[in-house]
Structure formats: structure tokens, C-alpha cells
Symmetry: C2
Subunit: 197 residues, 2 copies
């Protein structure tokens, strides 16, 4: 009556080697893209990674990678994993509770419909991503799900900054390598009733 999501051991080791702070936004994204690439190369999940940072100082709070297939959990997307680990580390379900710190979520691709919906609940104040939803879908074949058509302004209305296209070309390279690797693209169901009905 419990479930657990854990990071692969290589992520734990690589996190120990990270500097305490990554003051430059590009360095944060480069780090996340590196985790995303290694995650599918090590076959420990899909080609997605995310990190929670103190927006001002760049302090690394948590790193998450996609764990859907290894943990048998369709909600174990990189963003949910990174946010959950940050909340556990900081012992709060609301990363926006302390108004003196803005936490930033950095992801190698636009959040899917679920992760988009998770962001307002999390207390995250800034979302930075690399590849667009279209790029992810076209290159990899992943279905990113029915995200709100005005998702950027819906976040902005709630005081959450959105920054897109940071190192998008580097992120797309990882998706191309993933597509060429022949690893499984697990997807939301394409639709249609099951054959028995």
C-alpha cells in the first residue's frame, strides 16, 4: 500500500559531482540535457530530465529523470520526480511557501499536459525549457497529451514565469539520438475501445 520512485545510482553519483550552484541559466540547462542523454543511454528511463534550482543563486535543489518504465509508473516524469524530491528535501509541499526564494524548474523539453498541471500546485515560480512540444513529438513520436491551448499565459496568470527555447538545438540532438536508438516510445493510448468490447 505504498509506492516508491527512486533515482538510478548513476544519477546519485553524478549529482555528488555537481557544483553547489550553477549561476548561469545555460549551465543549468546543459546539466539537465546531459542527465537526459545519459538516462536513455544507461537505459534507466526516457530521454527527459529536470532540475529544481534557486532561480537567483542557481543552487541545485534536486535532479529528476524520467522513471516511467523502470519504476512501472506512468506519472514518474522527470518534472514530477524533480519536484517531489525538492519538496522532500525542503520538507514542504509548497515550494512557493517562502516568499523570499523563487524556485525554478529547468527541463529539456516542454512539460506534457500532466506536468503542466503539476506546476501550479508545486509552488515553482519559474519554468525554463529547451525543445518545444512540437519538436519532441516530431522527433521522438511521444504524444505530449492535451495541454491547455493557452498554457503559457495560464501559468503567467498564476505568477509563474515561462522561458522557452534555451539550448533547444542541443536538446533536439538528444531526442534525435533517442529516436535513432530504437528504444521504446511508450505513449498514452491512441484511442479506440479494447478488442473485447
Amino acid at each position: 500500500m505504498q509506492y516508491q520512485i527512486e533515482l538510478p545510482s548513476w544519477v546519485v553519483k553524478d549529482c555528488e559531482k555537481l557544483p553547489t550552484c550553477l549561476p548561469q541559466l545555460e549551465d543549468r540547462m546543459e546539466t539537465i540535457i546531459r542527465f537526459a542523454r545519459s538516462n536513455f543511454e544507461y537505459e534507466t528511463g526516457g530521454p527527459f530530465a529536470a532540475g529544481v534550482f534557486d532561480k537567483t543563486t542557481g543552487r541545485v535543489v534536486s535532479i529528476g529523470v524520467n522513471r516511467v518504465v523502470p519504476c512501472l509508473n506512468s506519472s514518474a516524469h522527470a518534472e514530477i520526480v524533480a519536484i517531489s524530491l525538492a519538496q522532500q528535501k525542503l520538507q514542504t509541499f509548497d515550494l512557493g511557501a517562502d516568499p523570499s526564494i523563487e524556485y525554478q524548474l529547468v527541463v529539456n523539453g516542454r512539460p506534457c499536459a500532466m506536468c503542466f498541471g503539476a506546476i501550479p500546485w508545486s509552488g515553482i515560480r519559474s519554468v525554463v525549457y529547451a525543445a518545444s512540444g512540437e519538436q519532441i513529438e516530431q522527433i521522438t513520436g511521444f504524444d505530449e497529451g492535451p495541454i491547455h491551448p493557452q498554457w503559457q499565459s495560464e501559468l503567467q496568470k498564476r505568477g509563474i514565469e515561462v522561458v522557452d527555447g534555451v539550448l533547444a538545438e542541443q536538446a533536439c540532438d538528444v531526442f534525435r539520438q533517442f529516436a535513432a536508438s530504437g528504444q521504446p516510445v511508450y505513449n498514452s493510448r491512441a484511442g479506440g475501445p479494447p478488442s473485447s468490447s
Copy 2:
């Protein structure tokens, strides 16, 4: 470098007393509403519960309750907990993988934006809920988040049935009791930059 979501012990005990199958849809919903009420009465989470059932036979696969505050995890909504436990029990990240069984998610209120986005990924084939999003927001003050304006048809397009309004009045009664209890309504941030910036 891991996080864990667990059910409170009273849920584990109450699950042991459930019949193996609940053939009638109203009985499934009544059960879920009972778990939702007990969850805030025992102060083990918000007034939300969800269950995964075999749609045809009513076999109970998993029960989830909201665990946001006790587990310090903003994504531990009842639907995510129920789906995660079902996937763990059935050892698959895709509840739609076996085309001969349709799994049904039964919830006491309309899924929020995040849980809506989680449904297509999960392999769930049928979603049944009681109270509407408007009813939840008006009675409790919870912000249900920026759900896709055509969320029902977006699910239906993906072959996922949506049934609403089942025992809605009973579900609203629980929300009214919750609202009267004075327990905290944790919300996505209302917006505006933190005071330091």
C-alpha cells in the same frame, strides 16, 4: 534520492474489508466518497479519494486518497496515488496494455488539471466522477487549476470514456463538511512575484 507515498493505516485496514468486486457503479462511488470523508476526518489528507476498478466486473484494484500534506508532496492527489498503486500491483506502467480489460478510475470530484493530464498516460479507459470542478471550487475554495477547456472530448478522442455527476450530491456533502471543519485549503499559488523581488 527517492520518495515514497504511502496510504494511512486506516485505509489499508478498510481496504481489507472491501468486497473483491463492486458490480454496481453507485457502490463503487459510494465507497470512494466514504474514503474521501474519512480521509479528512482522520486528518490524513484532503477530502479526495479515487479507486481503480475493472470496469466490467467491478473488481477493486486499488484505492488512493489525497496525501499532499502528510507526505509533503503536491502531486500526491488521490488519482495519482490510485493509478500508481494499480500500476505497481499489476506490474505495468500502462493499464491499457491488455486490450481485454478496461480499467476505470472512480473519483469523488472532477480531476484537476494535473490528474486530467495523467489519465491518458495511465492506460485508464473510463473516468467516473461525482462533483463538478465548479462545485469543488465553490464549496471548498480549492483551485482546480488550468484544465483544458475541452478536456472531456480530449479524453474521448483518446478512447477514454467520461461519466460525470454520479452521486454528486453525496460528494458535495463531504466537501461542505470539509469546508465547515476549518482544515487547510492548500492551493496553487494565487500569483504575483515574491516580496523580495
